[in-house]
């Protein structure tokens, strides 16, 4: 009774999944969000969008994940969706050497259109189809590690959407990397505090935090079903905040 308005807050992060066609981006997303695996092979048309709530290290996050079509013909069409991303998953398939080579292009395309600082942006390299037998594997771990090192990408993980291994871990890895980058940026900001434009509100800390309309007294009215079924619903509406956020580039000077 002392606190009648439970402070359900969650941070919103926009995640983009990139990579050549057929490396399993959509499968990764479907496994992560719905914990399903669809055998039949379909192509993403342009872009796809899903939400997922996740708690990492006691902190609640809502990931808004844009899955893009890998085919070249969608190139001009998908790039507008890169903007405002917080985390980028670069995917390749372990049985496809070319898909790893493609990552350089993907990374450049992303950097070009997302308008982010390449050294301060959390890229995660995800090798999909980890479930394949060893003889089908074309890309070995060390090669990827080396590529990552060249690109200054800190995180690399091998997953299997089919066998559901390391899928959530990949996203968690991304999250932690993002937080790490944020801390670095914040620290830098503090150091050079004098040069900050003081007319701009400091938003690093409280950014993307929204109250979940589910708890407390506010949520009544028309969305009763959303509020009705307890914590789950509260979390869901907590997540639905995709637009209410500032871009990661807010503080580049």
């Amino acid at each position: 009774m002392t606190n009648m308005r439970p402070p359900q807050k969650s941070k919103l992060l926009k995640v983009v999944i990139l990579g050549d066609g057929g490396v399993g981006k959509s499968a990764l997303l479907t496994r992560f969000v719905s914990n399903r695996y669809e055998e039949n092979n379909f192509h993403t048309i342009g872009v796809e969008f899903m939400n997922k709530d996740i708690v990492v290290d006691g902190e609640r996050f809502t990931l808004q994940i844009w899955d893009t079509a890998g085919q070249e013909r969608f190139r001009a069409l998908r790039t507008p969706f890169y903007r405002g991303s917080d985390i980028c998953l670069l995917c390749y398939a372990l049985d496809d050497r070319d898909s790893l080579k493609g990552l350089t292009l993907w990374r450049n395309e992303f950097l070009n259109y997302a308008d982010v600082d390449q050294d301060k942006f959390p890229f995660i390299v995800v090798g999909n189809k980890n479930d394949l037998p060893a003889q089908k594997r074309q890309v070995n771990f060390e090669v990827v590690q080396q590529w990552c090192a060249e690109q200054k990408i800190a995180c690399h993980i091998e997953t299997s959407s089919k066998a559901a291994t390391n899928v959530t871990e990949a996203f968690v890895l991304g999250l932690r990397q993002w937080r790490h980058m944020e801390c670095v940026a914040e620290a830098e900001l503090r150091q050079q505090g004098d040069t900050i434009d003081l007319t701009r509100p400091i938003r690093l800390v409280q950014r993307r935090i929204c109250c979940t309309g589910g708890g407390g007294g506010g949520g009544g009215g028309q969305d009763k079903d959303a509020d009705g079924d307890g914590d789950d619903a509260a979390m869901r509406s907590a997540g639905n905040k995709m637009f209410a956020k500032a871009p990661a580039t807010n503080y580049r000077l």
Binding site: F42, N51, P80, G218, G221, D223, G239, N240, F243, A244
Partner: protein
């Protein structure tokens, strides 16, 4: 408001906006971006529609400055300049003359081709003919003027002239013949019994009546048709001769049947005419009873040289009765060698025409076959005296005119009418005949100018009727010619002339049809090259926008050309030669335009700089210099789209341009970027300008909501205009648009909150007054939020998803659908949360005054103050504003918000005042105030968790407002409740009976069971003590005790007590009896407490005289509300003692 209503409202508003001229407000709003959305949306649409109309009329014929024209302009300097003034002398010379055509005309050149004939010979012949003129026009004066004319025309010097004159005069007069054709007769008088006649014609010259010519007999008719020719030689004095024509009824000696039989026996045409002659001879010799029907006498003087076809009435004697009429063709001719005559005629025509053109200054394309009278007389004399047939004449004209046409253009109708005469005859001639050769020679000369007309169709304004006329005639000519078979020996498409025919360098054969096609294409090509060059200003340092403007101009010109083709020429082409003219044009333009547009558009798209889309906090407007270029690009898109639509209706072929849209992919993403930037900045501006006053009485939102929706509306129109043909692209774009619209929505809500939050800032000392602005802001947000889904619906996403399903698979379509759905749901949730947040802010701002009023109102000292009234006034004023301004949902929301704030306030207030050890009266006041407020808020209507919280607060307030004794009793009542709820007890049970009587209470303490052993021997020495509570109420009543029952855990007391109680004491239902079970210790000095139980008077009344078994319990120091309330009264001795006692008991 339900959705439909809302939409109606919105569109009504929008309609209103459209009808009224833009207000100051709109101007301000659009100023920021030069009316970007209007431009991008509806304005552009209108513009593209208007453009067509304007262009159609403004497009001038391109020929005026075309290079092809320059050489022609020397010949007819008056050509175009006089066009407007004198329609009669319009020359069509602009079609003219290809540079390939033969060079400057030399008079004598015409005759070069005729070596056998020279001018003087022909001259002599003509003079000779003049001297021996035949026909009615002849007289001396005429002869002289003719001779003068001819000398002039032939340009014969005087000396030569006299010489030739003499020679001609001395020549023998020609043998002139009278050619008679008996054509037909009508309405003849009947001579036979059957009412008919069997007519035949007899004709003879009056001077030589013995030499008669007879026609065949036409049996049993009054309207015979003969069409028979007769040639009568005319000797001297032909002028005075009279031709007699008689129609007879044949009446043979033989029966008609015999005659018919005879006719059947006859073989061959000669035989037949013999027979007919035979019949005629016998008829005229009077052997039979032939009867004259009537006769006509014709003086030869009346016959003109060109001949005469005339009806004559038949007469007989002086009777005026009609005997019928006879149609006769009469012509005079001289006998002459045919081929020489034809040759002469050709040359004569050329000479005459040259002279005619020279003297009368007829403009190009204007002469249509009419000579001056003298020339015509000479021509017809020559034709007659040479005995030329109409075909001969026509073919000569064909030859002569086509030759001259090469240098001086004649009217095409002339050739067309000549063809009418020539073609039927030519068709049946041998390919190698001289006439056929002559004919095709003429065709070869004529065709280039025909094709020139097709090629230069664009050089004249269509308002010039001559171009239509000329086209009509030219197509007639081409149609007639192409139906003829070209003799193999003739090449009508010499390479030197037809450089533009695409097959000219190949082995492919070309015919009139392909040449027509090529002519049209060449003309189109020249026109296109002309406009391509003409509309491009500077090639090197064009800006992208200029390049796009160039495309627009180009397509518009091409389009207007097509439109002109469809409007004026298509019908003619199709009607004459079954050609889809504009389709040919379109196909030609298609590939060329595709080439030009593709490279420019792709280049421009690649040059597009990525825009810096601002974040939602939106602190700056990015630099948008190339936004206009985006607009132009979109204009190009729309124009191309419309152009392709036109093409698809014209041509059945697949068009290259139909695949224009992928060139724009980057453009579209750019437009979408522009849209979002513009939309965000305009929303910002709309909110800045918003007065936060309802737009009108019927609605509860303000101008920025309407403005924002009109931005959405324009985006929708943009999308509808774009009408992206390819489904996957459509989906991606629409996903982006939905995303952007959602973003705008959220942005609007954020900015609206921010705007309104700043309103009352700095007024901390004053009470927060809930202004209408807050409510309007909330309504605005809600209005936008509710409108969003229906707006998005109008983007025809369902249709796109459906098409995706058909194009790919349902699985993919579903994923796309769910993506869009998720995006929208996210936005709606987010915006709802923002509304709720704002409401919470309002509620929070209302909290401090509420709190202050409540606190003041509760103070005992200030009991008489008007704090309560003030509070109520404040709340009422605020609620009235809220109720009047907010819509229902949000009113409920804000009530919830206020209540949840109120809960916190109350809680804080209670807590802090407990800490201050306020007297119960304070809480009493507070409770009263709360109750009044709850009534005021119409709590019954609200269902939320807050209500429960508030009622908890209320019950607690009630506790705090109790006096200490009451509070203690409250504790006992709580104990009773706890006891009743227990199923069993470790301390055992006590059984009693009790009955209230008229005078008091009859209480029997029966027994106890399972008492907790207290002594070391495992047994107890128990007794029960009964006391009445609250003690204040039962001051005079003494406590009753049972005897002690030693060493028994199941003591049987069975002791009856009679206690006198007043009526008042009896009637207090919540009075309690407390039974304490105690253990008497060995020494009887003190007794040890075992357990206790309670019963209320209410329970006693319910079970009079029955046994009641009660669970025994020990008081525990639980977290009970009443205990806690007591704990706050440490200054109160009664409370302090009670708690001390209680603690002792519970820990013992």
């Amino acid at each position: 408001m339900d959705e439909e209503q809302m939409w109606k409202g919105f569109f009504f508003k929008l309609q209103e906006l459209k009808m009224n001229p833009p207000t100051e407000h709109e101007h301000q709003l659009q100023d920021g971006d030069d009316g970007f959305f209007e431009k991008f949306g509806s304005l552009l649409r209108q513009k593209s529609q208007i453009d067509e109309g304007v262009l159609k009329s403004s497009l001038a014929p391109f020929a005026e400055n075309g290079s092809v024209e320059t050489e022609e302009s020397d010949e007819s300097p008056d050509g175009s300049s006089q066009l407007g003034q004198d329609p009669e002398c319009i020359s069509i010379n602009t079609f003219a003359t290809d540079s390939e055509l033969a060079s400057s005309p030399e008079f004598d050149n015409f005759l070069d081709s005729t070596p056998i004939m020279n001018v003087t010979d022909l001259y002599e012949e003509i003079l000779f003919e003049i001297y021996n003129n035949i026909g009615c026009e002849n007289n001396d004066q005429c002869t002289n003027s003719l001779i003068e004319f001819v000398q002039d025309a032939f340009k014969i010097p005087n000396a030569t002239h006299l010489e030739i004159c003499e020679a001609a005069r001395l020549k023998e007069p020609p043998n002139v013949r009278l050619n008679v054709e008996i054509i037909k007769a009508e309405n003849l008088m009947s001579k036979d019994s059957n009412g008919l006649s069997d007519p035949f014609v007899t004709l003879y010259l009056e001077s030589n009546s013995s030499h008669r010519y007879n026609s065949s007999v036409k049996p049993a008719t009054l309207n015979p048709i003969w069409e028979e020719h007769f040639s009568l030689p005319i000797t001297e004095n032909a002028r005075d001769e009279v031709l007699i024509v008689e129609v007879w009824d044949f009446d043979a000696a033989e029966t008609v049947k015999e005659k018919v039989n005879k006719i059947l026996d006859v073989k061959g045409v000669k035989g037949l005419s013999k027979l007919m002659k035979e019949i005629a001879v016998t008829a005229s010799s009077g052997k039979h009873d032939n009867e004259l029907i009537g006769r006509a006498a014709i003086t030869l003087k009346s016959i003109p040289v060109s001949g005469l076809t005339v009806w004559y009435n038949l007469e007989k004697g002086s009777k005026g009765r009609s005997r019928g009429s006879l149609l006769v063709n009469l012509a005079l001719s001289a006998e002459k060698n045919k081929s020489v005559a034809v040759q002469e005629h050709k040359n004569l025509l050329k000479l005459l025409l040259m002279y005619e053109l020279e003297t009368s200054q007829v403009a190009n394309y204007w002469w249509s076959g009419k000579f001056s009278p003298n020339a015509e007389l000479i021509r017809s004399q020559h034709a007659a005296q040479s005995g030329l047939t109409p075909f001969d004449c026509a073919l000569s004209q064909w030859h002569a005119y086509s030759t001259i046409h090469e240098t001086h253009k004649l009217n095409f109708t002339l050739f067309n009418s000549i063809l009418d005469v020539v073609v039927p005859v030519i068709t049946y001639m041998q390919n190698d005949s001289e006439d056929v050769k002559t004919f095709w020679d003429g065709v070869r000369r004529l065709l280039p100018s025909c094709f020139a007309v097709l090629r230069k169709l664009r050089s004249k304004n269509t308002s010039d009727k001559n171009i239509i006329k000329a086209l009509n005639v030219v197509l007639d000519i081409l149609k007639k010619i192409k139906e003829l078979e070209v003799p193999e020996s003739v090449d009508i498409f010499p390479k030197s002339v037809y450089g533009w025919i695409h097959t000219i360098d190949t082995d492919e054969s070309c015919n009139i049809d392909t040449a027509i096609n090529d002519a049209i294409n060449t003309g189109t090509k020249e026109w296109l090259e002309h406009i391509v060059e003409g509309s491009r200003q500077s090639k090197n340092n064009e800006t992208d926008d200029e390049k796009l403007q160039y495309i627009i101009k180009l397509i518009q010109m091409v389009r207007s050309d097509l439109q002109r083709a469809m409007e004026y020429f298509d019908k003619i082409f199709y009607h004459k030669i079954q050609l889809n003219y504009s389709a040919i044009l379109y196909l030609f333009y298609d590939s060329k335009l595709a080439e030009i547009c593709k490279s420019i558009i792709i280049e421009v798209c690649n040059n597009i700089k990525r825009l810096d889309v601002p974040d939602d906090q939106f602190e700056y407007l990015p630099n948008l210099e190339n936004v206009n270029m985006g607009t132009t690009l979109f204009e190009v898109y729309l124009i191309l789209k419309r152009y392709v639509t036109l093409g698809e209706s014209l041509c059945s072929e697949s068009l290259e341009l139909a695949n224009f849209y992928p060139w724009f992919e980057r453009g579209v993403t750019h437009w979408l970027d522009i849209s979002i930037i513009k939309a965000l900045s305009r929303i910002q501006k709309a909110i800045d300008l918003d007065q936060l006053k309802a737009v009108d009485e019927t609605v509860k939102y303000s101008s920025s909501a309407v403005d924002t929706l009109s931005i959405f509306y324009q985006i929708k129109i943009f999308w509808q205009q774009l009408d992206w043909p390819e489904v996957e692209g459509s989906y991606i774009f629409v996903a982006k648009i939905v995303n952007d619209l959602c973003r705008c929505c959220i942005f609007y809500a954020q900015q609206m909150s921010r705007r309104v939050e700043n309103i009352n800032i700095g007024d901390n000392n004053k009470n927060f007054t809930l202004s209408e602005e807050w409510c309007i802001a909330i309504n605005n947000m809600d209005y936008i939020r509710q409108t969003l889904p229906s707006f998005i619906k109008e983007l025809s996403i369902d249709d796109i998803i459906k098409r995706l399903g058909e194009y790919r698979s349902n699985l993919e379509a579903e994923r796309c659908a769910s993506t869009i759905k998720t995006v929208i749901e996210n936005a709606l949730d987010t915006e709802r949360n923002q509304i709720v947040e704002l409401i919470e802010i309002v509620a929070r701002k209302m909290a401090p005054p509420i709190k202050r009023y409540l606190a003041e109102g509760a103070e005992v000292l200030a009991k008489d103050s008007n704090s309560m009234d003030q509070l109520m006034m404040y709340l009422e004023a605020s609620l009235t504003t809220l109720y009047d301004t907010l819509n229902e949902i949000n009113f409920q929301r804000i009530l919830d918000g206020i209540w949840s704030e109120l809960s916190i306030i109350m809680y804080d207030l209670i807590q802090s005042n407990l800490d201050k050890r306020r007297p119960p009266a304070f809480f009493q006041n507070l409770n009263n105030t709360l109750q009044t407020m709850m009534d005021c808020f119409k709590m019954g209507n609200i269902e939320s968790s807050d209500v429960k919280i508030l009622s908890t607060i209320q019950s607690r307030l009630r506790l705090y407002s109790l006096e200490t004794a009451d509070l203690i009793h409250q504790y006992y009542l709580e104990r009773l409740e706890t006891q009743k709820s227990q199923e069993s007890s470790p301390y055992g049970q006590l059984t009693i009976t009790a009955q209230l009587t008229d005078s008091g209470l009859l209480l029997t303490i029966l027994n106890a069971r399972n008492l907790l052993p207290m002594d070391s021997n495992g047994s107890v020495d128990s007794f029960v003590k009964a006391s009445f509570m609250p003690t204040s109420r039962f001051n005079d009543i003494i406590t009753v005790k049972t005897n002690v029952h030693n060493k028994s855990c199941f003591p049987l007391y069975d002791q009856e007590f009679r206690i006198n109680l007043t009526e008042q004491q009896r009637n207090d239902k919540n009075s309690l009896i407390l039974f304490s079970v105690k253990d008497k210790d060995l020494f009887g000095m003190s007794s040890q407490y075992i357990a206790e139980c309670y019963i209320s008077f209410e329970d006693l009344e319910a079970t009079p005289g029955e046994q009641i078994m009660m669970n025994l319990s020990r008081p525990e120091y639980t977290d009970s509300d009443s205990l806690r309330a007591l704990e706050y009264r440490l200054g109160d001795k009664q409370a302090k003692d009670f708690l001390k006692k209680l603690k002792n008991r519970s820990f013992s």
